[in-house]
């Protein structure tokens, strides 16, 4: 007999923007399997980042609760982050990761196409390189759930695919919540896709199963179209 997995779960989350009457979520319920590459999709301004920050514990919901593995480490990363400018990105990443992750860091630098950038300062990098460097330092932390808020923005499609496959392969036991505006991307790569809806719709969030393809697997286009349509209708 196996122990049932402990889900990351949001129960009856309600939230208004601070000091306004604008409702973002009302009685939002959702849950994620504790491992896998999941997606969070929604139209602009619907509250994806806000929900992610509530899940990461960076902001508190007005009501409702978050449950999951006790003392789970949830990290939230976004494409808005910067690395300090006093050292090179390679030095910085080496300094902020556990020593035992050094080999993995070398591999990620290579896989993410950043080997040539490691001696550069953060401000010298392109937007895509900046996002990849930021992602590497988060991937090498201790975490149970890592939220990737537009973390692959400004990265070309081929590299994004390579990075996502890499993450799935390297961290099979971890949970990821990938926030993206790309409908086809979340449909193809994500396991469960949480479609966040505008506050006037009920329920506020709908889970849809994605294709969740892995390295070497081909995309079933008819299934992909179906999922994409499902997401569009849900949103």
């Amino acid at each position: 007999m196996t122990t049932p997995p402990v889900y990351f779960e949001c129960r009856n989350i309600t939230y208004h923007y601070p000091k306004t009457d604008r409702l973002i979520f009302k009685d939002l319920n959702c849950r994620l399997r504790p491992h896998g590459f999941h997606g969070l999709f929604g139209t602009s301004g619907v509250g994806k980042s806000t929900l992610a920050e509530i899940i990461a514990g960076e902001i508190s919901a007005e009501s409702g609760e978050l449950t999951g593995k006790p003392s789970a480490t949830i990290l939230y990363s976004s494409n808005m982050e910067r690395l300090p400018g006093w050292s090179s990105v390679g030095e910085h990443v080496a300094k902020v990761i556990p020593r035992r992750q050094t080999d993995r860091m070398e591999q990620l630098f290579s896989d993410f196409g950043l080997t040539a950038c490691r001696n550069s300062r953060f401000s010298q990098l392109s937007l895509g390189q900046k996002n990849r460097i930021n992602l590497i330092r988060y991937l090498l932390q201790e975490f149970d759930l890592l939220i990737l808020d537009e973390s692959l923005a400004n990265v070309d499609e081929a590299m994004r695919e390579r990075i996502i496959f890499n993450i799935k392969e390297m961290f099979p036991g971890k949970c990821f919540l990938y926030i993206s505006h790309s409908l086809s991307e979340v449909s193809r790569f994500c396991d469960t896709i949480l479609v966040l809806r505008s506050p006037d719709k009920t329920p506020p969030i709908i889970p849809i199963n994605g294709l969740n393809i892995r390295q070497g697997e081909s995309t079933d286009n008819s299934n992909l179209e179906r999922i994409m349509l499902e997401i569009v209708h849900a949103a």
């Binding site: 960076e58 982050e81 400018g85 006093w86 300062r121 930021n134 988060y138």
Partner: protein, 254 residues
């Protein structure tokens, strides 16, 4: 930079002097009220070297006082930027204390510490300390969220790192504030010397005023302007070099 600042000062000084002389000749005032060019030249010949030494004396006190104020303001701002009771007390005290005019506090300092170097240093430091402190506290309490987020969420944030991030990100502002407060340090030293010390260009100014010798005052003001320009240029130069180095490192400048 030095050339530009000195020439700007010369222009302003000569313009002011020209206006004074114009005033003198229009209203037919004696050399006692506004000295003539010959009187100014004669006074400058007689007192320039003495006032030069006095000016250097003042400048050295101002520099040391300024450095002390920067160090002290940094330390206090670090404590003040913590969100605890001591920090909040320091902030309130800094806001209140800076309202006291130094001319009111200076005599008490001279009574307690005498009219020597220590009093001058203390007053020079005090006059530029509070503006520095308030700026430093402002900078160190303002989070740099896009950099700090990672350290906070991964539990790596320490106060030293927080100070480092905020200071590094505001190095341009800090440099401007420090250079700007240099003038205050000079003013503070001169005021201290004027009020109660027994050395420096402020003391010479006071004697010149006792003697109603405006020519001496004009010579002293000229030297004060030159020394102030030199010190400001030095600080701006240091700030420029630091920023240039950082920008080169960050690839902003080639």
């Amino acid at each position: 930079m030095l050339h530009r600042r000195i020439s700007q000062f010369f222009f302003i000084y000569l313009l002011a002097l020209g206006l004074l002389l114009l005033f003198k000749y229009i209203f037919n005032l004696s050399d006692y009220v506004i000295p003539g060019p010959l009187d100014i030249h004669h006074t400058a010949t007689l007192f320039f070297s003495r006032y030069l030494r006095d000016g250097l004396n003042t400048l050295s006190v101002a520099v040391v006082g300024h450095v002390l104020a920067v160090i002290l303001a940094t330390l206090v701002a670090i404590i003040g930027s913590r969100g605890n009771l001591i920090g909040s007390l320091i902030k309130t005290a800094a806001y209140n204390l800076q309202a006291y005019p130094i001319v009111a506090v200076a005599p008490v300092i001279f009574i307690l510490l005498g009219d020597g170097l220590v009093s001058r240093l203390l007053i020079a430091a005090m006059i530029c300390y509070f503006p520095l402190l308030l700026s430093f506290i402002g900078i160190l309490t303002e989070p740099v969220a896009d950099i700090e987020h990672f350290y906070v969420i991964t539990g790596r944030m320490r106060w030293q790192l927080e100070v480092k991030i905020r200071a590094f990100e505001n190095i341009g502002k800090l440099s401007t504030v420090i250079a700007g407060s240099a003038t205050l340090a000079m003013v503070g030293t001169i005021v201290a010397e004027f009020i109660g010390a027994n050395a420096g260009i402020g003391y010479s100014l006071r004697i010149a005023l006792y003697q109603s010798n405006i020519a001496k005052v004009l010579v002293a003001l000229f030297l004060i302007g030159i020394f102030n320009s030199l010190y400001l240029t030095l600080l701006e130069g240091i700030g420029y070099l630091v920023l240039k180095k950082l920008k080169i490192q960050n690839g902003v400048m080639s």
